[in-house]
């Protein structure tokens, strides 16, 4: 975003229908085509993996990605809960409808039009009735400077999301406590989250903020280090420890359990050290658009 744009105080109008159309496209793109960052990470893992079986399965995943893209079949039958991040420039005005409804309509149409699986159930602790259109999407909004609207979607399957972990450590447990907690989470998750994983880690803030940081860290390009060298060092140490676990591709044993570790940190209360782990499977479906 250029400085010139940021300095304008003029309100920019965005039509709600533009948001819906962008979401429809993102749902399709995310579910049929793995991003270049994810493909490159899987290729690198295949080159480095010591297990012959692991290398073969990583090859299957690359073949699956090529086929899904070519034949317009979902990369995975679990097309996920649709997590939508909206970064809304403070000079944006949404016209012609309600923003959240526009997002939900995009998910509804995106999942219906392209034969994606609808996986959301209402009454989750009792009747579990499928809402039939994959709504509601989980929407996170953030107000940022500027006059653009950035939309990022991530399709999150149950296999990986079910392995999320959270704890508030004692401040005395420090860096080592954080590393051990994350490594244990990946170890215990084993094959279930479909490794090789992208490991999202949120440190600090409050309970809900730590988990949001962990989830948001996943939408960085795979393997891009945190800009803070101290956090980047932590990511590297966790990655080495996780890959020494031996879990491997699909949990069948191997030298690569994670493609990358992404961590985000922020200040916390003097009495707290929150740490959250949100895992993403190898089929890391994340896409973004800017309106």
């Amino acid at each position: 975003m250029s400085n010139e744009v940021v300095q304008q105080s003029k309100i920019r109008e965005i039509q709600a229908i533009q948001v819906t159309q962008a979401i429809i496209h993102l749902c399709q793109q995310a579910n049929f085509s793995l991003g270049k960052d994810v493909l490159a990470a899987i290729q690198k893992a295949q080159a480095e993996e010591k297990s012959p079986l692991g290398r073969d399965i990583l090859g299957q995943l690359l073949e699956n990605a090529a086929l899904a893209d070519r034949e317009q079949l979902p990369l995975c039958q679990d097309c996920g809960v649709t997590v939508v991040f909206l970064e809304i420039g403070q000079n944006v005005h949404i016209n012609g409808g309600d923003l959240h409804s526009a997002v939900q309509e995009g998910v509804r149409q995106g999942y219906a039009k392209t034969y994606l699986r609808k996986s959301m159930v209402a009454k989750p602790f009792s009747d579990r009735i499928n809402t039939t259109d994959n709504t509601p999407a989980i929407i996170h909004t953030e107000i940022v400077p500027g006059d653009r609207l950035k939309i990022t979607i991530m399709c999150k399957g149950a296999g990986s999301e079910n392995m999320s972990r959270f704890a508030i450590l004692k401040p005395s447990e420090g860096r080592q406590g954080v590393v051990d907690f994350v490594v244990k989470a990946v170890d215990e998750a084993g094959a279930n989250p479909c490794p090789p994983l992208v490991v999202g880690v949120g440190i600090g803030g409050t309970a809900e903020m730590a988990m949001l940081l962990a989830k948001k860290s996943l939408i960085r390009p795979v393997g891009s280090p945190n800009l803070d060298p101290e956090v980047a060092g932590l990511e590297q140490e966790i990655l080495e420890r996780v890959n020494a676990l031996g879990v491997g591709t699909q949990g069948l044993g191997g030298s690569i359990t994670a493609l990358a570790v992404h961590a985000e940190a922020m200040p916390a209360h003097i009495g707290s050290l929150p740490v959250a782990v949100n895992l993403q499977c190898h089929s890391h479906r994340h896409r973004e658009a800017i309106i």
Binding site: K50, S51, L53, D56, I57, G59, Q60, L61, E63, N64, L67, A68, E71, Q72, L73, P74, L75, C76, Q77, D78, C79, T114, Y115, L116, R117, K118, S119, R128, N130, T132, A158, G159, N162, V183, D187, G190, A191, N192, C194, R241, A244, L245, G246, V247, G248, Q250, G251, L252, G253, G254, S255, C281, H282, S283
Partner: protein, 191 residues
């Protein structure tokens, strides 16, 4: 398919005990024949039917269950993407179904100690398919028939005819466990 045919064992479902006896954790298998799709909600209903003394919507003897909920069939196709779901959610139902005659299961991820014991007791086998390869596995599906619980949508019971469906034996009748074996081989110091 990247798995080389020379290293694989070809089997046909429904499976007999003799076939199951030949399988060991870590073996690569190409499975052809009939398999039944059932996941969370269908398992709940199947076990409820057994509890009520009712007949199951299919004869489970010697059959293979696939823990899977497909994506919808696009026009001109029989089914969408068809990869496995996490098996451990079915663990609490599995011993009952093995006792009723089910001989094989396909899913992803490890099983509970109770399920592993049941696999030995009833001479069954648990296979894993590659999670997140649903478009690739789509190619092995030759026919799709609805069997029961169509109101469950993606969780309905289906009968699939498959050809050369690529699998790995995860738990065998001898107590072998591919996850434990694999992890032991590649785990490095400190952890």
């Amino acid at each position: 398919m990247t798995i080389e045919k020379t290293e694989t064992i070809n089997i046909t479902s429904p499976l007999d005990i003799e076939t199951v006896e030949k399988l060991h954790a870590g073996d690569r298998v190409l499975l052809s024949g009939v398999i039944y799709v059932a996941r969370d909600a269908a398992h709940k209903r199947l076990v409820h039917a057994l509890d009520q003394g009712e007949e199951l919507p299919f004869d489970p003897k010697g059959q293979t269950l696939y823990y899977m909920g497909p994506s919808p069939a696009p026009p001109g196709r029989k089914i969408g993407s068809v990869g496995p779901t996490t098996s451990t959610r079915m663990d609490s139902y599995t011993p009952r179904l093995l006792a009723a005659g089910v001989r094989a299961m396909i899913g992803k991820g490890s099983r509970s100690a109770e399920v592993r014991e049941s696999i030995k007791e009833y001479k069954a086998v648990y296979f894993v398919a590659t999670g997140g390869a649903g478009a690739l596995l789509h190619r092995t599906i030759k026919n799709v028939e609805p069997v029961a619980y169509e109101d469950l949508g993606a969780e309905a019971v289906l009968r699939l005819l498959v050809e050369d469906f690529p699998l790995i034996v995860a738990n065998d009748i001898y107590g072998g466990d591919v996850f434990e074996q694999g992890r032991a081989e590649y785990r490095r110091g400190g952890n």
